[in-house]
Subunit: 413 residues, 2 copies
């Protein structure tokens, strides 16, 4: 490379997103980039010319290791959707004038669906205007819902956190006996795609039965059938564990959390904020069956739990960051780096760049064939898919008993 590179992070944080940033930084430096800039709070921050020289913040190999172990977006994130090119040309002109001023040769954007839309528009604009700046997307989302890639960095660590935590919660639920049994309902992230909730099956093993029921948003949720299933399970066992996606909904599209009294919020992309489904079902089951119930939301910890990251995930995130820089350096633009699996066992996976136009705004759901016929469990095919992604650990660098992270560039402390 002869010019500079700029990298940004967008959308929801993950435990692996900073490993991709480390991969971008290291490879860009190795390929001769003079400066590697980091936009603060993604494209939104760039528009306000908020960026840092990453060399001021990543000063050693130890910093690279800390960055790989630091959860959530090191550079800050945003949920900003670029307008269509024709509707706001000035905005695009502004972005490109900033990029030109910084002598940017390649822009790497680490994010999910909405972020790939940004890469698509910027690369389109560059082609339209004859700019030589290359734009490459780096996949990132715990939701694992990006098209054309076998899986997304961030998913494996979230899946490992969920499998481990659900196992610990189930173990905890075994302790106390209640006359009419105890039902634990665990709410896991996932609006439309059930990949994360499906990962609760990882709690199952020789030492744990795992969840008894697993409900994904891919299949409409029938609350009556659910009640009967729980009732039947309680006739032969004293403890029932249920994993549900936050996005489960009835046949007519009503979210379960909407059946309760929770207020709806809508974010910048028009997505409803979903929470409270487990609490609603927990109250419902307690009232209907008279048993003890408990609801648990895994909340933001499932995306921020870097202390329990998957080694496979952290290394792949790093590789994908490096591959994005390589692709840009070789002249590619308007592409996203994807992961292509060659084999399950032994697990082998590589990177391939694919046209971002085929990816943006498209959601990959859990295949119907990986969900049991009645929609209350997942199949062995899913386990075969997910198992390699949670393998291996990344030991946190512990300082005084607590994992150390890399100091953020935009926070006082």
């Amino acid at each position: 490379m002869t010019g500079n590179v700029i990298v940004g992070q967008s959308g929801g944080p993950t435990a692996a997103i900073n490993s991709s940033l480390a991969g971008v930084y290291r490879t860009a430096k190795d390929r001769g980039a003079k400066k590697v800039y980091g936009m603060l709070h993604g494209i939104q921050g760039l528009l306000e010319e908020k960026y840092v020289d990453l060399s001021d913040h990543i000063k050693s190999d130890l910093d690279i290791e800390l960055l790989k172990r630091t959860p959530a977006a090191f550079l800050g994130s945003c949920r900003y959707k670029l307008p269509d090119i024709h509707s706001n040309l000035e905005l695009y002109e502004k972005i490109f004038s900033i990029l030109n001023k910084l002598k940017i040769e390649a822009l790497i954007y680490i994010g999910g669906n909405d972020s790939m839309d940004t890469i698509k528009k910027l690369s389109d604009y560059a082609i339209l205007t004859g700019s030589s700046i290359r734009f490459i997307g780096c996949p990132k989302t715990i939701d694992n819902d990006l098209a054309l890639t076998d899986h997304t960095p961030g998913y494996g660590s979230a899946a490992k956190y969920i499998g481990t935590s659900v196992k610990e919660i189930i173990r905890d639920s075994y302790c106390l006996e209640y006359e009419k049994g105890v039902v634990t309902i665990i709410e896991i992230m996932g609006r439309n795609a059930g990949w994360l909730t499906a990962a609760s099956i990882l709690a199952k093993g020789e030492d744990c039965a795992g969840p008894d029921l697993i409900y994904l948003p891919e299949v409409p949720f029938d609350i009556e059938k659910f009640k009967h299933k729980v009732e039947k399970l309680l006739t032969r066992q004293s403890t029932v564990a249920v994993a549900i996606s936050e996005g489960i909904h009835t046949k007519d599209g009503k979210y379960i959390c909407e059946l309760g009294q929770n207020v709806d919020f809508v974010d910048a992309f028009g997505h409803k904020k979903l929470t409270g489904s487990a609490a609603y079902l927990s109250n419902y089951i307690a009232e209907e069956l008279g048993c003890k119930t408990r609801s648990i939301e895994l909340s933001t910890l499932q995306r921020a739990g870097s202390h329990l990251a998957s080694r496979v995930d952290i290394l792949e995130a790093y590789q994908v960051g490096g591959a994005a820089v390589l692709a840009a350096d070789e002249g590619d633009t308007g592409k996203m780096v994807t992961l292509v699996r060659h084999s399950d066992d032994p697990y082998q996976c590589g990177t391939v760049e694919k046209d971002v136009h085929k990816i943006a705004n498209d959601e990959k759901l859990v295949p119907r064939s990986w969900i049991s016929r009645d929609g209350s469990y997942v199949t062995d095919d899913f386990i075969t898919y997910v198992r390699p992604l949670i393998q291996g650990d990344v030991s946190p660098i512990m300082v005084d008993g607590i994992p150390r992270h890399l100091f953020m560039p935009f926070k006082k402390r």
Copy 2:
């Protein structure tokens, strides 16, 4: 020892309670106990003659290591309060006839306040009736609210989990910017004692500011003052993190969660079930200040998160289990093993047996002098106290990417 030993677990599960069980088992075997029985679901199960021979379940040194890493009560737990001796002599006769049938020489009960009440009553009854069976209590509670002991096994691991998780949550909260700022409220266990919530300060370090406000139940909570503090913080920072105990309450004793619409439950000991304080305050702040808010309950994970256990805690839990058996073998009864700290740095701590009559039903609170004057933070003295308890790690034994636990004696799988 010439006879047999029986051990039980009671009250809320912890990440370290099974390490005490491992210590009891190993020491009892080493001291010549013929059989080491485990009561299933504590004294309540014993009354129904539900117990196992622990040798059938702990068969190797590897099993001992797995047991130390297994969260929640391996033998099952109960919340059963023995009646006063004079009010139900038959019950005591029944317990002792079971113990005599099993040739029990020592009964070790691992639990918290309510469990020490059980040890007190059983040892009193033994003395009253001339029985030679010894009764020793083994402290256990994440709440750290037992009197006469420097701290309780289980607390250190919970504190480490809380410090780490709060740090990850805070890091996550930095990512996205909102015009009017974002306030994250984290609800931590603790009805009357704020030890667990205070441990959120462990998130603070060179790389993280930690929570901005920490509210313990030891000091009445003033919701107006809280709002003004948050408002003031938002004038100089975009992100505010608040850690609260589930048991915070107003000056007139009303729990914050009761201000919302949550239904109250009362358990066998007459304790109210508290949950929803963070959700209530989160809605309150959003309405009053118009900023983005988020509420997170650490829920049962803070007591079951054995994958992030503290090495100091797991080893001390093991020692305490062993010390309980030693004490009984030397003829002690009606005692609880306590931890006595000799120095903070280097940390040195030993065990001493103390009269259970001085412990039972007494709650140790966070000293007022370890809480800031206005009740919204903790002092360095608290940090000096808690820091040694979270040191060191116990690597989980990972099988196929997920921590392995020891197979439970009362579950099919």
